[in-house]
């Protein structure tokens, strides 16, 4: 299935309603069972598919930019006695494996974006579960800061995936129950194998929800809590909102995409794509106000919005391409000048930094090989240097006799763009070697020639102009010939050295096990649980455990 666009707008939402009242916003989920297009499933009971989540992702992002004054986002349901039934099961059962994996990754990124908004934009999320929150529905609740559940003697929260579907709650449910909400592991175990879930006071006692209110008092209590949450979150932004306008793009016949500052070229035969970022000749605005005046057209922001869009299309729509060659062209000084603006603490530039951080994390969890190439006229500098650090391999031309090829660290490489493991890319690269990290950061603002960069441990290989073409060609061809599955696993292991976080557990442990289960006959075989769900027969399992 091809996804035409990953963008949306509240005017076009089919499944959500976004209202904003002062510093409190409300997101009402009211999923349309069919959207008029031909689909092999019906979205009953506020269950969701990728299009429902694309709208949610848009809302979460848009709230930060267009409604920066909002301090509480209430997430609730427009349906009676049902909050959300999670991902639609016939949708999952009818999807191929790769789509399921992409779907889960996208929804996980959206849940993490909710938590990120709370942590870095002071926008708290309050889940008002006015009905059953099951599976992915409860996982959506878990992404919120607070969960209140209606006590109508029937509405429960549940993770019925294991007992009913023979799969995992794959959107962070298991991780958040124990890691975030600190539910005791034995109770979590009981809860996670109980199809009907837990309701009322017991749900509070288990710490699965924060409070439960009688139906008659529910609305009032939610409003009270929303007000309290907003009041507890101080610091109103000093600037006007920014319109979260669509990303301008021209789409080529081959799936290539041309954005204002980024060009994606696809070679399906070679299973490779080239992502080339071209910096403007002039760095443009020199302060945050001037940058904000340009809004989403401010080129650093526009560039990373383009990268975000390109990555989503590569994941969902250009699956046979496994190797991405990344270049940044231009004057490194332009990138450093932009970093000087980005580094400020104005609301707009702070938001831009956080946005760029989230897009860079998308690079980290994309199941594609990234090879960064620095040739003549290359500008892996500051924020853009993160792309070289995020790459699986970084080739830098040793151009001793020419004008030289440079990379340039900036102070932003020292903390602005934490990875999912909580460390910077430099810290992850030089794990437990603070001296090596500092040696790079001490040179912030300097243009480092290839040999210097190589000495600092920033370069994988530094061929000279004679070797360059062949070395690079061989590396790319060789990479493109290896098992894509093995590479995905290898990269996911090597990219995230260092500590575990909720995020690394979700993308590592939870997703990896889920993706394994998604391939197993016990889930997807003809008698597997996912296939049998909703049918007349019980699943038949192969009982071996190792």
């Amino acid at each position: 299935m091809q996804i035409e666009s990953f963008e949306s707008h509240p005017d076009r939402y089919q499944h959500w309603k976004l209202t904003v009242d002062g510093d409190i916003a409300t997101l009402v989920m009211d999923v349309q069972e069919g959207d008029g297009t031909e689909k092999p499933y019906i979205l009953k009971l506020n269950s969701y598919d990728i299009f429902v989540d694309i709208e949610l992702a848009d809302a979460v992002e848009r709230l930060r930019w267009e409604h920066p004054q909002v301090r509480t986002v209430v997430v609730t349901s427009g349906k009676d006695r049902i909050f959300c039934a999670g991902a639609n099961i016939p949708m999952l059962a009818s999807s191929d494996h790769a789509f399921k994996v992409n779907f889960c990754k996208f929804t996980n990124e959206t849940r993490l974006a909710i938590e990120d908004a709370s942590a870095t934009a002071a926008q708290g999320y309050l889940c008002a579960a006015n009905g059953v929150a099951s599976g992915g529905g409860y996982e959506l609740a878990l992404a919120c800061d607070e969960i209140v559940l209606v006590d109508d003697r029937s509405s429960a929260v549940s993770l019925p995936e294991v007992p009913l579907l023979g799969v995992l709650p794959g959107t962070g449910g298991l991780t958040r129950v124990v890691d975030k909400r600190k539910v005791r592991r034995d109770l979590a175990d009981y809860f996670s194998s109980l199809a009907e879930g837990v309701r009322g006071q017991r749900a509070v006692d288990y710490k699965l929800v924060d409070a439960t209110y009688k139906l008659s008092k529910f609305e009032g209590k939610v409003a009270e809590r929303a007000r309290a949450m907003a009041d507890a979150r101080l610091g109103k932004p000093d600037a006007a909102p920014v319109e979260w306008a669509p990303v301008p793009v021209e789409v080529g016949a081959d799936g290539g995409r041309r954005y204002t500052h980024l060009d994606l070229r696809v070679d399906r035969g070679a299973r490779t794509a080239e992502i080339t970022i071209t910096l403007p000749d002039d760095a443009g605005p020199t302060d945050a106000a001037a940058a904000q005046a340009q809004g989403v057209s401010w080129w650093p922001l526009a560039t990373f919005r383009a990268l975000n869009d390109a990555l989503l299309h590569l994941r969902f729509n250009i699956r046979e391409v496994g190797t991405l060659v990344m270049r940044v062209k231009g004057d490194p000084q332009v990138a450093l000048a932009a970093d000087a603006v980005l580094a400020g603490d104005a609301w707009f530039t702070t938001e831009a930094r956080h946005y760029i951080r989230r897009v860079l994390k998308k690079v980290d969890v994309s199941s594609k090989t990234f090879i960064a190439l620095a040739e003549q006229g290359s500008a892996f500098a500051g924020t853009f240097f993160e792309l070289a650090l995020a790459a699986d391999r970084f080739f830098m031309l040793d151009d001793a006799e020419g004008d030289g090829v440079h990379v340039a660290p900036s102070p932003l490489n020292g903390g602005a763009y934490a990875m999912g493991n909580g460390l910077t890319r430099l810290q992850t690269r030089f794990l437990d070697d603070e001296a090596a990290v500092n040696a790079v950061l001490e040179r912030a603002g300097e243009l480092l020639e290839t040999q210097k960069a190589n000495d600092l441990g920033l370069v994988t290989f530094a061929p000279d102009d004679i070797d360059w073409d062949d070395e690079v060609r061989l590396a790319i061809e060789e990479r493109a010939s290896l098992s894509p599955d093995a590479l995905t696993g290898m990269e996911a292991n090597l990219r995230f050295a260092g500590p575990e976080t909720l995020e690394t557990k979700i993308f590592g442990r939870l997703s990896a096990w889920q993706n394994w289960i998604f391939q197993r006959p016990n889930a997807v075989g003809p008698e597997g649980a996912l296939k049998a769900f909703g049918g007349p027969t019980q699943p038949v399992y192969a009982w071996e455990r190792t």
């Binding site: 004679i466 070797d467 062949d470 061989l474 590396a475 790319i476 060789e478 493109a480 010939s481 290896l482």
Partner: protein, 474 residues
């Protein structure tokens, strides 16, 4: 840096004069090669003028130009047979694709390994033979030894060319390593076992050039089929030179046989300074079995990979009818725990090492047959045989098992008790060495244990001064 006239210094047909990559690589490598040659090449003869053939082009007139030359001044060249228009990969999974003019990324590592393994044998044999000149049986033989040595050096160049031209930095590092390993060195030995055995007498040398260089012939033939076109063309040209090396070996052994047969007519050869036939048989057993090991495992996934990838074909693959080798099986004898051998069907691609070994064995049988004809012609009733291919193997299915030369299994103790009946004993080696204590350096003269050849080199008489000693010269 002074410009170097590459094309005159290094004869080549690879446009070296315009290839910066090659020039840069060779600038560093070439002096190291000369250092290696002076240190590990023929000991004691570097200042002498040797009547050598040099390849200056791949034409009929150019590939063998004769003249006296000091070995360090030998013009080691780089030659590939000319490019063939529209050559295709002619076997394996890529059959029908255009032959690769560049290394395909997915096969970079296997190709490099194959080229390094082949390349490593070339300097190794020079190292093994470096002291032999001091006990040469004639100037004719001394010259042949040096001819073999400089051409092995050129074959090293040929492999280094491929590494330098097509494998970038890794290739340069591997090329350096080819000069750093040493035959028989404890810490840094040559890659293959047979190339770490010392060759300190001429019977070993002739057996080596008969059997081990013949392995080289079959490896080169298999690689001459390669879908990686530069490798195929390099190996095709190397084969033209390799033929002389096998000629040196085969006629060398034959000249010893006829001499021994002659002497046997008047009594015990050992008492008259000749090499007895059974002692020659033991040397054949040794070098044949060591050379069989070089083909690799009988049932080999590597072999299947190389064939499937179109990197290494069969002997004269282009003459065969079927080139996928799929859905076909090779009836392969395999030994069980008790040494008993049972035939098992192995997918043909996995058996490619054995297929190549079969062609080699057949070729070796012809050599032995011609030696036996020579014995017959010399009036000797004794005959030579090739041992079973299970005998004395240190590679593959028969490694660690003990078989006599007829292929009968036995215990390690039984085998050890009879070892000296089948392989050169210390006494045998000492005896052979005792015949070769000093070189025969008079033109036209030959040692007592070997006959003169039928004719000289390049139409020159046997009395020709094939090596001019310049001990007191400049």
């Amino acid at each position: 840096m002074a410009a170097i006239d590459y094309d005159s210094k290094i004869p080549n047909n690879v446009d070296l004069g315009n290839d910066r990559r090659l020039q840069r690589a060779l600038e560093a490598w070439q002096p190291n090669f000369i250092d290696w040659w002076m240190e590990m090449g023929p000991e004691g003869f570097q200042q002498d003028d040797v009547y050598l053939r040099t390849a200056v082009s791949v034409d009929r007139d150019g590939w063998a130009v004769f003249g006296h030359v000091k070995m360090p001044d030998y013009r080691w060249g780089i030659f590939l047979t000319p490019l063939e228009d529209d050559r295709k990969v002619n076997f394996g999974d890529h059959m029908g694709d255009p032959a690769w003019q560049n290394v395909p990324g997915e096969y970079r590592n296997v190709l490099r390994r194959i080229i390094v393994t082949q390349g490593d044998t070339e300097p190794a044999s020079v190292e093994q033979q470096r002291m032999l000149g001091h006990c040469a049986p004639s100037l004719y033989d001394l010259r042949n030894l040096f001819q073999v040595n400089v051409e092995e050096g050129r074959h090293l160049w040929a492999m280094v060319y491929l590494l330098h031209r097509y494998f970038g930095r890794d290739g340069r590092e591997e090329a350096e390593a080819l000069l750093a390993r040493r035959s028989g060195d404890q810490d840094s030995p040559r890659i293959l076992g047979a190339f770490n055995e010392p060759i300190d007498n001429w019977l070993d040398f002739f057996c080596f050039t008969t059997f081990t260089d013949r392995d080289g012939k079959y490896q080169l033939r298999a690689l001459a089929e390669s879908g990686f076109d530069p490798l195929a063309r390099t190996c095709t040209f190397m084969l033209t030179e390799e033929a002389h090396h096998m000629f040196v070996g085969q006629t060398g052994v034959q000249r010893i046989l006829t001499k021994t047969a002659e002497i046997m007519k008047s009594g015990d050869p050992k008492k008259q300074g000749a090499i007895p036939i059974d002692m020659i048989q033991k040397h054949i057993n040794l070098w044949y079995s060591l050379s069989l090991d070089l083909f690799g495992g009988e049932d080999s996934s590597n072999a299947a990979t190389f064939f499937g990838a179109g990197i290494k074909g069969r002997d004269r693959e282009h003459r065969l009818d079927e080139h996928t080798a799929l859905d076909q099986y090779y009836a392969m004898p395999k030994p069980g725990a008790d040494g008993k051998v049972a035939v098992e069907d192995v997918p043909l691609r996995r058996a490619m090492n054995e297929v190549l070994r079969d062609a080699y064995v057949e070729d070796c049988e012809k050599v032995v047959k011609s030696w036996n004809r020579a014995l017959e012609g010399a009036g000797c009733d004794l005959r030579l045989t090739l041992p079973s291919r299970r005998f004395h193997r240190q590679q593959g299915l028969y490694e660690g098992l003990n078989y006599d030369p007829d292929g009968n299994w036995m215990t390690a103790e039984q085998w050890a008790a009879r070892r000296d009946e089948w392989l050169p004993s210390k006494a045998d080696r000492d005896y052979v060495r005792s015949l070769m204590t000093k070189a025969v350096t008079e033109p036209g003269q030959f040692a007592d244990w070997i006959d003169p050849p039928a004719r000289g080199i390049n139409g020159q008489p046997l009395e020709f001064e094939y090596v001019k000693f310049c001990r007191h010269g400049a």
